[in-house]
Symmetry: C2
Subunit: 321 residues, 2 copies
């Protein structure tokens, strides 16, 4: 059931031995939220641990240093930034999949799988909610906690570019900067650095780009072979998804990534008024208005055709806002 923020705060205040999980393949906001909540709870004397089980992008590795492992039997399980139990970053035996006590999230597509859910889809990032909670429980916001929050805020907003950014996001980021983080250096690593392998894959992917429906849709693909040839890490591919949408006049930018032969992961990025989540829901996926994802099975040309058929009604007779 959905609860109010003060109820979520009260639950965290009244429990101890808190295990924090996030979504699988955690991104900057999932990691930032998880680590920040863990450090906040520890700073008020609780046992808390944040756990994830996937490889994370190397740019986030230094976050790992901010919460040492501890050992306790969890009595309260919190999921952050995870919209669906199907994508929960759980232990291999799936022990908490159906046993999340409290979910804190900003995805409007949240399935309310947890016992209690605090959902604010006006928050640009789950890290925004975590900062409100940390302040409410009287946690210390030291430099490492501030850095985790800032990484969550900045990665989910494209470094304060996207339309989900609010004045609250900006002021929270300002407060985190005042807590002593080196925002310029973080941004350089997160947003202004391309690895050589990424630069190579980018060039290959852009060479596959095609445009459709009066150039209102741009679509490109990445095969396993391209992935291998470039030497890119699985985790480096995420940023590529924003490229097709950047071309003037494009409303829907789609990136089709071969996960294994016959199975493709699709990232959709849109410009207003097109809702990316609605397109992805056709294939059982979801996400946000401007950024969403899904999986489609078939050959590359079948997947591309299915996707274009699904996109067409969203752009035909639709003009950019």
């Amino acid at each position: 059931m959905r609860i109010e923020l003060n109820q979520a705060i009260e639950m965290l205040n009244s429990h101890d031995n808190i295990l924090i999980l996030a979504h699988r393949n955690p991104d900057g906001d999932a990691l930032g939220s998880g680590y920040a909540l863990c450090r906040a709870l520890r700073s008020v004397g609780k046992n808390a641990e944040f756990k994830y089980f996937d490889k994370i992008p190397k740019v986030f590795l230094e976050l790992e240093a901010c919460c040492e492992n501890t050992d306790f039997e969890p009595s309260f399980v919190v999921a952050v930034d995870c919209a669906d139990s199907k994508i929960l970053g759980d232990f291999p035996d799936g022990r908490y999949k159906e046993k999340v006590d409290l979910c804190i999230d900003h995805h409007s597509s949240n399935t309310l799988y947890a016992k209690y859910t605090y959902l604010d889809d006006n928050a640009a990032a789950t890290s925004e909610i975590i900062l409100d909670i940390a302040r409410a429980i009287g946690a210390e916001i030291d430099t490492l906690t501030a850095q985790a929050i800032y990484i969550g805020l900045s990665t989910d907003t494209g470094c304060f570019r996207y339309s989900n950014t609010t004045s609250k996001t900006m002021r929270m980021a300002a407060d985190m900067m005042d807590a002593g983080i080196n925002a310029g250096k973080l941004n350089r690593i997160l947003f202004e650095t391309k690895s050589k392998s990424y630069a190579a894959l980018e060039a290959m992917a852009l060479a596959t780009l095609t445009k459709h429906f009066s150039e209102k849709c741009a679509i490109m693909h990445i095969t396993l072979e391209m992935h291998e040839k470039s030497g890119t890490d699985e985790t480096e591919i995420h940023a590529l998804a924003s490229l097709p949408r950047q071309i003037e006049g494009v409303l829907v930018g789609a990136t089709i990534k071969e996960a294994e032969p016959g199975r493709y992961k699709v990232s959709i990025r849109t410009n207003p008024p097109v809702n990316a989540s609605e397109i992805c829901q056709i294939f059982g996926g979801g996400g946000h208005k401007r950024a969403a994802g899904c999986e489609i099975h078939g050959t590359l040309s079948e997947v591309k055709k299915q996707l274009l058929d699904a996109i067409e009604p969203f752009v035909r007779d639709v003009d950019p806002e």
Copy 2:
């Protein structure tokens, strides 16, 4: 002579019929500062006009609507965001070149050419200083003024990415968002849209990229022929300059742009600890620590050689911070 902020405010308060100029080929901060100051002065009942004489990037054209022309004989001339009288965006007859009463600027390379100069090189953008001034004179900060300020803040910080961004910058941007601007839409136009011609020129320029000095320097060039072939507007080229610096490990990224046969404009972008302005000063140019420019004469290969010779001591035996 250099003056304090309160003295600059007092001068603006005590004068009327104020002409505002900026640097030639005005960028987002020059235009944002000029328009915001003009609107601020008008809102407190003064005659004020902002003038520039060059073609501006089309993304800034809607700013023009924010200050209608008026007709008065200027009695006080203010230059904003202009570090040197040599680059003042003056009337064709150069009538104000040596007659600027007050310069308001954030470039540390300012030559103090004006009668009075208020210089704050800790400000991320001149627009930051203009907002402080506008507030101090009791100006109304309506949505159009807020938009001009936001454009100045965002363009000079790479949309709040670069290390010049401070918590003050972030809070000012938050205040401008609260004044009703559509920041998401502005950012999409300013930072997330590539024209087809730009995308074509980008691909051609990246194909010329070479690396030097253990890959700590990356350099690329744009010839008049490439420029023409891509169909790009002169004003679209600015954004390309940030690309060479984005490659992992690069400390100095240089872009050489043919202005006319035998004359090249060079843009330098650096990562810490290298000072871009120091490199450009060798050729009589200047700018900021992370972004600067200069002109070099000769053939393309001569220019490239001169530039590499100048860069070498800045990167040899230097490690990234």
